[in-house]
Symmetry: C2
Subunit: 400 residues, 2 copies
């Protein structure tokens, strides 16, 4: 299974941008977003107050970076030239970008934004002070349907998430510290991935590992975005876990509801109900299926079971280079695809397509505990493909 993105992917992506550019009146496509720049070139960086700007013209790919990134760009075969300003704010990054565009003979651009994002206190001029700017979201759209190579990286991520999740379960016992079990599983999962992949591992971390596994526990599970408390595990605790691995910039998502000791009757009831909702959602998925339909199937089941008041969120979202990506599995989106003309929600991508990769994670939350699995499911030409595969049943999730 490949663990780095093939070079041809970048070539194909740049070709799509150039096709769209050719169909427009603009001279270049411009990107300030770190993820978009990585998607098109493979150059990845931490988005800080220092702007980075990619310009794609019909025949050139040129990148403007702060001085500290120059050496990380050199040798990238997709980038024809790198330009730099020393630092922000003294270095006048947007002036530098304007100079690069001028040298390229560019008067008008289609950009992902009219200037750099206001990350970490950045506050600079609009690009439209220098050239004509219209905005586009081509890369955001391109990223929604993953190629086979991208799905393969997410599948590889799921493999290491699965291993780390095994470590998580193995180290869980009454009296254990949930933070420490989480960190230990992450450390051991990372070690295994690094040793197994060796030189095939795409180096991605800074003082941390590529694999993360962990959980929230006890009453905190009643909150979908609860925290890991500073208290030891006890028999009767519910856990909601999460595990993922960074494989050349791509992520999967594996979450399980687990029990420290035997599950009580109420725990078992809500666990089985949640599992059934998740299965119904996945059974409903496939190419051409509106995302709203999948969310509605779960809602209808919750209504039938009388638990809609215990639902806190929609069924899931896409995943890839970001942990959450559109389209979301949400009843509100499909309404627009079906012709509803309200203006609040975007109406594109309301239908599942081959290459979409969804987390499917309907949840039930009582006052005392939460119940949620999350699996990562790819849409194929004729159905779905489970990328995560940790046991979902009660027996596989009780820690004795």
């Amino acid at each position: 299974m490949p663990t780095t993105l093939p070079a041809g992917e970048y070539r194909d992506r740049l070709a799509v941008v150039r096709d769209r550019l050719a169909a427009s009146d603009a001279d270049a496509a411009v990107y300030f977003g770190a993820t978009s720049i990585e998607y098109l070139t493979g150059f990845h960086h931490i988005q800080t107050e220092r702007p980075v700007c990619l310009a794609v013209s019909p025949d050139r790919v040129e990148l403007t970076v702060p001085r500290l990134e120059v050496e990380r760009v050199r040798g990238n075969p997709r980038i024809d030239a790198v330009h730099d300003y020393f630092d922000y704010p003294g270095g006048d990054p947007l002036e530098t970008v304007a100079g690069v565009l001028d040298e390229l003979g560019v008067d008008s651009v289609l950009a992902d934004a009219d200037g750099a994002p206001g990350a970490m206190g950045y506050d600079g001029p609009a690009l439209s002070e220098f050239v004509d700017v219209e905005t586009q979201s081509w890369v955001a759209e391109m990223r929604e349907a993953k190629s086979d190579a991208e799905v393969a990286l997410i599948r590889e991520s799921a493999r290491w998430a699965n291993l780390a999740h095994r470590y998580l379960a193995a180290h869980t016992e009454p009296g254990a510290h949930p933070v420490t079990v989480s960190q230990r599983a992450s450390m051991e999962g990372s070690r295994a991935m690094l040793d197994a992949l060796g030189d095939e591992y795409a180096v991605r971390t800074r003082g941390d590992g590529p694999v993360h596994a962990g959980y929230i526990s006890g009453e905190e599970t009643a909150l979908p975005h609860g925290h890991t408390p500073n208290e030891r595990l006890s028999v009767g605790d519910v856990l909601i876990t999460g595990a993922t691995a960074n494989v050349d910039g791509y992520y999967s998502e594996l979450e399980r509801t687990m029990f420290v000791g035997e599950a009580g009757d109420e725990d078992e009831h809500y666990f089985e109900l949640m599992c059934e909702a998740q299965q119904l959602a996945i059974d409903a998925m496939g190419p051409g299926v509106p995302v709203s339909h999948v969310d509605q199937v779960v809602w209808d089941y919750f209504a039938e079971q009388g638990v809609t008041d215990l639902a806190r969120h929609h069924v899931g979202h896409n995943i890839g280079m970001d942990g959450h990506e559109p389209p979301y599995v949400d009843r509100g989106w499909g309404a627009h695809a079906a012709g509803d003309d309200t203006e609040m929600a975007p109406d594109r991508d309301a239908v599942m397509e081959p290459g979409h990769v969804y987390t499917i994670e309907p949840g039930i939350y009582t006052a005392d505990a939460g119940y949620r699995h999350s699996d990562t499911i790819a849409i194929t030409e004729d159905g779905v493909d489970w990328l995560t595969y940790y046991p979902r049943d009660l027996e596989g999730n009780v820690i004795r």
Copy 2:
């Protein structure tokens, strides 16, 4: 030393916002930024595609959240009412916000942005479709000078960073895996902090620990934002470390250049040069000193030593709730304070003030290795206060 922010801080912050609001023609101040909302109310959340919006009127503080956050808001004594939409995009979050403002009798607002940020694919309407909006950056300005209570939290962060950095050094030896040493030091540092603080620990993490320590190693240190390679440590490797801890949402920054085995002559030369540059910078700091002056002192020293071509970035930045915050220690900022009228860089906050907390981290980068310490230094009424305190000298940073 306190480990949570005193409640009075939130009261004081909201009072500042209300004073500014009273001096304006607007009916309410509005915030979409997660950090600003946390700063004013203590409610912290992960910024996702689901907008969260805080409205502060002369007599009410009301928060709009997705359904999944409702229970995390209840009981917050600063928040008078919580409103929710079910989820995005179906829930129409901005419509919900508009309804809340309407109920409050608000027609015009001063907001941190004209709508929610485009995080994780969010794409919604401008707030100005519903009410009159002018933008303000009051909280960003308020956050620059920290209160004594905030500095105390950053100091507490430095304590646990120091401990984790000790673990990092203790586990470093030829043949060790840099990723694993990093993760082990983070795990042990987190465990120590959690056990030492007990119920005084402000719960902040989800499946991870509050302390992070780690390093990049070998040739990757030649890159200021280099990575941790998947190769074992060897005698002769340079390390650039980093350590921090999350103390109720505040961070410090501790970085050291270390050597696996004895430092070579070139290593020692650049190490001492970097240390001297850092000392010169810190000696130059104090209330009323332009940030540009401190950056210039280092640049002049580098020029005198003939190493400006080995510099890759300015001297440092502020730190607090974010890892990087303005003002930055950059020569470009002071020029504007001194009357330079170029329009590229903002000219406010070009002078160090009591309560500013700076990372001071001049670096030198050869083709083979990098040399950079970072210390976290608070500006006081009459000088500076070192919040980080790990040994800086060569002897203290050689691993034998």
